[in-house]
């Protein structure tokens, strides 16, 4: 038998049918419908009107900036904090199995559950965070109700929930480093800082890269947590593109909503793809 018959294309058929019909085709037609006034009953062509609205309405264009801030902040905080935690958890402490499980568990709780729990914890008058702060003599504030802090409060919770997976990836990366390097460095008299800088960090490069990409893309798409904690408010201080897509859909502006979707594609194409290329290059060089 030939390769052709053994590894028949028929094996691809079930996957391709589902994936192309329900994922690829909608993406392809989204580019068309983003240029229309659209209800499911009919459409009329309106050119780039939807995109113009997106960039002129403050409620809409602020979401673009928020999406960037959200994605970059969550991603960089996760990289730095998770790396420190991973270093700590790979050192010779005794309780690391327990600590690892504890750090990992939030990852299994749904975003909605996490969101509403922290809504209670961040409650301005009764929440435990502000009570702890008061106990320490600091002034708490209405974290989620204040335009200047709301986005950062949600970012904080996102980091809390998403940290675990980054930690686990870093632990895997650190553990895969051949101990011979570390021994050799120690014999040559390298201190822990030098070992970290010249051995651990460079050899963890692939892990660092995947955490950066993973959390950045996750951040750009983020919806569940923001929706359950603030619903985009106060005002539109925490609106991101994904929540605008939902709001415009709920308001019946299907074309505008789809334009938001297309904007998300453009953002990912502009940021994520070049970043991936850049990181891969840095990894090889």
């Amino acid at each position: 038998m030939k390769k052709r018959t053994v590894y028949s294309y028929w094996f691809l058929a079930p996957m391709l049918v589902i994936y192309v019909t329900l994922f690829i085709i909608p993406i392809a037609i989204s580019f068309f419908f983003s240029l229309t006034n659209w209800t499911f009953e009919g459409w009329s062509f309106c050119g780039i009107e939807n995109f113009r609205t997106f960039f002129t309405e403050p409620a809409l264009y602020s979401s673009i900036g928020n999406t960037f801030i959200y994605a970059f902040l969550t991603s960089s905080l996760k990289v730095v904090l998770a790396f420190l935690i991973a270093l700590f958890l790979t050192s010779a402490i005794k309780t690391k199995t327990f600590l690892r499980s504890a750090v990992f568990f939030p990852n299994l709780v749904s975003m909605i559950a996490v969101g509403l729990t922290f809504k209670a914890i961040l409650n301005p008058t009764k929440g435990i965070l502000n009570q702890c702060l008061a106990w320490l003599g600091m002034e708490g504030r209405d974290w989620l109700g204040d335009v200047s802090t709301a986005l950062f409060a949600v970012v904080g919770v996102d980091v809390w929930k998403g940290l675990s997976i980054a930690v686990v990836i870093f632990i895997a990366g650190i553990k895969s480093i051949d101990t011979a390097y570390l021994e050799a460095a120690r014999i040559d008299g390298a201190g822990s800082w030098q070992i970290l800088k010249y051995i651990t960090l460079p050899l963890c490069r692939p892990a660092v890269n995947s955490v950066i990409l993973l959390s950045l893309i996750g951040g750009l798409k983020s919806f569940d947590l923001i929706w359950s904690m603030t619903g985009g408010g106060p005002g539109y201080a925490t609106d991101v593109i994904a929540s605008v897509i939902y709001k415009q859909y709920a308001a019946g502006y299907y074309g505008l909503s789809t334009a938001g979707n297309v904007l998300m594609y453009l953002m990912i194409a502009i940021i994520a793809f070049p970043l991936q290329k850049f990181l891969l290059k840095a990894e090889e060089g």
Binding site: M1, K3, T5, Y9, F11, L12, P14, M15, L16, I18, Y19, T21, L22, F23, I25, P26, I27, I29, F33, F40, F88, S91, I93, T95, L99, R100, A102, V103, F105, P106, L108, S110, M111, A113, L116, T117, A120, I121, K126, I128, V168, I169, A207, L213, L214, K221, D224, S228, A242, I245, Y246, Y249, Y254, S257, T258, N261, M264, Y265, I268, A272
Partner: protein
Amino acid sequence: MKKKRYLIGDIAGLLVVFVVFIIPFVFIVLNSLKDTREANLLKFSLPETFHFENYIEVFTANDGLFLKSFKNSMIITVGSVVILVLACSMAGYVIQRRKGRFMTFVNFLVMSGLMIPVAILPTIWVMQKLHLYKTLPGMILLEAAFHTPLSIMLYRGFMANIPVELEEAARIDGCSPLGLYAKIVFPLLKPITSTVIILNAVTVFNDFMNPLYFLPGSENSTIQLTLYTFMGQFSNSYNMVFADVVLITLPMLVLFLFFNQKIVDGMVAGSVKG
């Protein structure tokens, strides 16, 4: 000297982890057992009296919506995971083994799905045309489609470590292509299949956004949607909301206790290669 330092590290680590990661969960459980008045104070304290009946009330609220949505979530999770395992193991196997221009194209198509988000309204439109919108089978197929890229990537990566010789031997013995896959390849994929199952089960079960768009209406509500409506409906009784949170997190906790290492490994495998 060194020992002492590690002991301090242990204690500091435990303390930080306790405050940051454990207290929120203890807070949820404690408040789910209080009466409404006490729970609404949002205090971190033991309940004055334990109200286990809160949990029963979650089950009976809204004509047993909780159980109905739990059943729906289970059906969607199991259904989409079964499809993912079957369709993606076959596809990953062939994508890894066969080369050529068409394969490169298919591979590109699948891998770009790792980054690109769902086109929401056009998907609803397509689902309406197929008469699958707002139906459980439709939701199952959608979840399967959305998690295809990651599952294929895992299967393809694992296939690369399985020697071709086994397949060649079976071929010489006159095994049919389908038999070859079903009897030789699929059993060899078992370790990665368990990863695919756990990873997708957790994501689909916890999914909120996709059911929100593609499965609206209380008839087919899923567990995460119920929690969200619950939050609006019982915004003045935090004990009920937290009891609901505990109940929907329980399946994941059980999964975690049994497959702790497997889950962690799976999540790493799923993300490192992404």
